[in-house]
């Protein structure tokens, strides 16, 4: 269905090729997951399938990409629109029309599908993706998960034989992600669609994959194979696979169900051991270590109430993870804490003061917020320039921001324009800028979008270190694995209200949605990470 014959691709002015002599064949009806580290060229590979690379990106492509018997050399992306459906990273930016129904029909209109067939296919897509209640809604008024489903529906209606998706679940909460992936799996099974997608959160996609293509980056040759084979040696692997490697299961489990059936003996071995106790005892913050607090906080946008009577306190030395489905008020809470938003009622106190009263230069010492779109913080001409500005504004020693960046993600090219960085690199830069002045209260909104496992590890290290130095850290995330590894305390929001607040271990283990893979496998024992299990088995923990 898709064939890459000796394909090399070099971006204009790039030092080396992004893809080097790639030969790859993806047969019809497969769900193929492209994995690799941040900035390794996954998106480039995906975009080459329908010719966006090189027709839209510039650069030099050697070799041939053939899709359903047509080459991208002779066919522009628009000519391949009836074969390949492409869903980009940011669905909102890809919408052309105004309402859901028009968007679903847009591709078909361009292809000249007759009116009655169009009508039928739109209704089919609405049923398939569960969009019944949204059909007249404005695209901009949808939540992230809804937008992603509409974006998939909008390319599906053209009945392409291939669907290409770039990180389709990165903005979605666990439940919405399951839903989207389940839909894709159904399309593969029922309609024989070929699906190619890039994804960082392997724990979500590996159970659905027929084939995994590993892009090592730096022009090294691709590795491809079945998930079982790739996962045996892959440098990026979900916790389930790492647990399997640790215990020596063969074949490796790819779904929680596989693992649970094999984990009986492991559970017995772990039963007498107790999981490590929380690093700090949350729940009862003393006045001395309270860093920030909200009292009966209400924030409303017009008639929509985003936060509804939230009482929370943030302690020094504690990492608090905010969870909840898309649109439950996490981002609003963070931006209110950062002083960007005026509470409708109630109070917010940071370091004994209203965060809105800080001058910008004071603010960065007290509160640092990494927004969902890290690009917003970046406006300099190069990575170096960004780091220098940050040092200057925060009165730091020269090079401290650059140093922080190097710790989070080594090897970000300093002369590159921030816009030309990969999503993950950009996030790392924004993180470094906010982290460098070491704000007393650090807020992060979805800090792992587009980050690979090694970068996540380093981020966790940095966050733990800051908490150890007495900073208060709060992060909103859909990434349950991250929450399990970094969180001391977990707060679950729903409809703008706090519905769970307690030690991260108890909160995530008792939720079917937010439990990490290890917890699901080892339930009812409350183990969260592979690391904990490893140390327990090594006898590092007291029995």
């Amino acid at each position: 269905m898709i064939r890459f014959d000796d394909v090399s691709f070099t971006y204009t002015e790039a030092a080396g090729p992004t893809l080097h002599r790639v030969t790859l064949a993806i047969p019809e009806g497969e769900l193929c997951v492209v994995v690799g580290e941040t900035g390794s060229g996954k998106s480039t590979l995906l975009r080459a399938i329908n010719g966006l690379v090189p027709h839209f990106s510039g650069g030099v492509l050697a070799g041939t990409v053939t899709v359903d018997g047509r080459t991208t050399k002779e066919n522009r992306p628009r000519d391949l629109a009836d074969v390949v459906g492409f869903v980009g990273q940011n669905p909102l930016a890809s919408f052309v029309t105004e309402t859901v129904e028009d968007e679903l029909a847009y591709t078909m209109e361009n292809l000249g599908v007759p009116a009655d067939a169009m009508r039928r296919r739109v209704e089919d897509a609405i049923d398939l993706l569960g969009l019944q209640d949204l059909r007249d809604r404005s695209l901009r008024a949808l939540s992230g998960g809804q937008q992603q489903r509409v974006a998939i529906g909008a390319v599906l209606t053209a009945s392409p034989r291939i669907l290409v998706l770039d990180e389709p679940t990165s903005a979605l909460d666990p439940a919405a992600a399951e839903e989207v992936l389940g839909t894709l799996a159904r399309l593969v099974h029922d309609l024989g669609l070929t699906v190619v997608m890039a994804e960082h959160r392997l724990e979500r996609v590996v159970p659905f994959a027929d084939r995994i293509v590993l892009v090592p980056g730096g022009g090294a040759p691709l590795v491809e194979g079945s998930p079982e084979v790739i996962m045996r040696s892959s440098s990026v692997a979900p916790p389930l696979v790492e647990l399997g490697r640790l215990v020596g299961w063969d074949p490796l489990p790819l779904s929680v169900r596989d693992a649970r059936r094999r984990a009986t003996s492991l559970r017995e071995r772990l039963a007498p051991l107790t999981p490590p106790s929380p690093r700090v005892a949350p729940g009862a913050p003393t006045a001395a270590n309270e860093m920030a607090a909200t009292r009966k906080l209400v924030v409303a946008y017009g008639r929509v109430i985003a936060l509804d009577g939230v009482d929370l306190s943030f302690s020094r030395g504690e990492v608090l993870v905010l969870m909840g489905r898309n649109g439950s008020g996490k981002s609003t809470l963070l931006s209110t804490l950062s002083g960007a938003r005026q509470p409708t009622r109630g109070t917010v106190v940071v370091d004994g003061r209203d965060p809105r009263s800080f001058r910008p230069a004071e603010l960065i010492r007290h509160v640092g917020l990494v927004p969902q779109d890290p690009g917003l913080l970046l406006y300099g001409e190069s990575v170096h320039a960004e780091c220098r500005t940050s040092d200057k504004v925060s009165d730091l020693d020269d090079g401290s921001t650059a140093h922080t960046l190097e710790r989070i993600l080594p090897g970000v090219p300093g002369d590159r324009h921030p816009r030309d960085l990969s999503e993950g690199q950009r996030l790392a830069l924004a993180l470094a800028i906010v982290l460098a002045p070491a704000p007393a209260l650090l807020l992060l909104d979805e800090p792992t979008r587009g980050l690979d496992y090694p970068s996540k590890d380093r981020l966790i290290e940095v966050l733990r270190e800051l908490a150890g130095d007495g900073h208060a850290v709060a992060l909103a995330s859909h990434d349950v694995e991250l929450a399990a590894r970094v969180g001391d305390r977990a707060v679950v929001l729903a409809d703008g209200q706090v519905i769970a607040d307690g030690p991260a271990r108890q909160v995530v283990c008792h939720s079917p949605v937010f439990a990490p893979q290890v917890a699901k496998v080892l339930a009812p024992e409350e183990w969260l990470t592979v690391d904990e299990v490893r140390r327990a088995l090594d006898g590092a923990l007291p029995a």
Binding site: S94, L111, Q146, Q147, A361, P371, Q372, D373
Partner: protein, 395 residues
């Protein structure tokens, strides 16, 4: 009443609204009777208040109302300051005269201000205001997106560009506040010249970024696919369009300056229209597009357009019959008579208030504006999420 005829709740064809509003606007151009003008404005506002949705563009009528008031005020103020003097009338007050050199004799500043001159100026302003209000009504009632969808196929691509721009402008405004907030988070002042540059650069960059992403997405979804036409058809299309447009210019000249072309203006315009139509039709064959659920043209559309035409017709007949009171003057000061025929005609133009199907609101139903209307699913609590928004505020 018409809902039985239209099985699904739908919005009226946007072209129908524009034709109706054009009828009213032309009525307003043909009279300066303040009572008729006020009636036209009242009818337009009434229909808007009954038929509009809660879509963003529906609020534009308020803007046009305000502009209308401003127009009247400006016209009166100009009259007071620079109005023609020497016409006899009831003097209200005297402004000090500003002596001007002899070559500026035509202009005068200050002097005696009469009631008559102010009334005349106010009515002139009212006429412009009412015409504006008619356009405002069409703007509020017809979705600009649906209107663009009614364009002929050959203009479709231009239409898409306009659609994208329409959607884009409010987002740009929003992103300015988002960027300002993000800059504050970095500890960088957001005021002053340097602050302005720091805000403008990321806003423009993200705008460019977005347009690139949009272009990518549109291309990947088949925008701009072409069917190859024969050389003959292509020449016919471009020739007919060019010729037609040239003839439009000539014809308009003939219509406006009736003396020079011996009444050939209208026939020339008709030929030009046919040629343009042929050009559009042949050119439209180049794009293989089809149209999804085009707005139907049914009885309500005819009724709405018809009501606008009745008003226009009544006005034209009244003109032909030289009914007194269509063109009034306040010097000498007199109470204008109210001609019955145009009044009836204009009142008929209020029929859409009951004849038009109640439009569904295409914008934020169940979204920001009305969360209660949302579905009782897990998503019902989802606040809108603009991913580019720093704070997660609804767009």
């Amino acid at each position: 009443m018409t809902r039985a005829a239209a099985p699904r709740r739908r919005s009226l064809h946007p072209v129908a609204w524009w034709l109706w509003a054009a009828g009213l606007a032309i009525c307003a151009m043909r009279t300066n009777n303040p009572f008729l003008l006020a009636l036209i404005g009242a009818v337009a506002c009434f229909v808007v208040s009954v038929c509009r949705t809660n879509a963003p563009w529906s609020r534009s009528i308020a803007f046009f109302l305000r502009v209308g008031v401003l127009v009247i005020a400006i016209r009166v103020v100009i009259e007071i300051l620079f109005g023609q003097r020497g016409v006899p009338g009831h003097v209200l007050f005297n402004l000090p005269r500003v002596p001007l050199p002899s070559w500026a004799m035509a202009v005068s500043i200050g002097g005696a201000v009469t009631l008559e001159s102010i009334l005349n100026a106010a009515v002139e302003g009212l006429q412009i205001a009412v015409i504006l209000l008619c356009f405002g009504a069409a703007n509020s009632l017809a979705s600009p997106y649906r209107l663009l969808r009614s364009l002929p196929a050959v203009l479709y691509e231009t239409g898409v560009a306009v659609t994208v721009a329409l959607a884009f402008t409010p987002e740009l405004v929003l992103s300015i506040s988002v960027v300002r907030q993000a800059r504050r988070q970095r500890g960088i002042p957001v005021t002053g010249l340097r602050g302005l540059r720091g805000v403008a650069v990321p806003v423009l960059e993200s705008a460019l970024d977005r347009s690139l992403q949009l272009a990518t997405s549109m291309d990947a979804r088949g925008y701009g696919r072409r069917v190859s036409l024969g050389q003959g058809s292509r020449r016919l299309a471009s020739g007919a369009t060019t010729g037609g447009l040239l003839l439009v210019a000539v014809g308009l000249y003939g219509v406006i300056d009736s003396g020079s072309l011996f009444g050939l203006g209208l026939p020339i315009l008709a030929v030009a229209a046919v040629m343009c139509g042929v050009g559009l039709a042949v050119g439209g064959r180049r794009s293989a597009r089809s149209r999804y659920r085009p707005d139907p043209w049914r009885r309500p559309e005819w009724v709405v357009v018809g009501s606008g035409l009745v008003a226009l017709g009544a006005m034209a007949v009244a003109h032909a019959l030289n009914v007194p009171g269509l063109t009034v003057s306040f010097s000498p000061l007199a109470f204008p008579s109210i001609p019955l025929l145009p009044v009836v005609g204009i009142l008929v133009a209020a029929v859409p208030a009951i004849a038009a199907p109640r439009a569904i609101s295409p914008s934020t139903r169940g979204g920001i504006a009305d969360p209660a209307a949302g579905p009782p699913t897990a998503q019902s609590s989802d606040a809108p999420q603009a991913s580019s928004d720093l704070s997660g505020a609804p767009a």
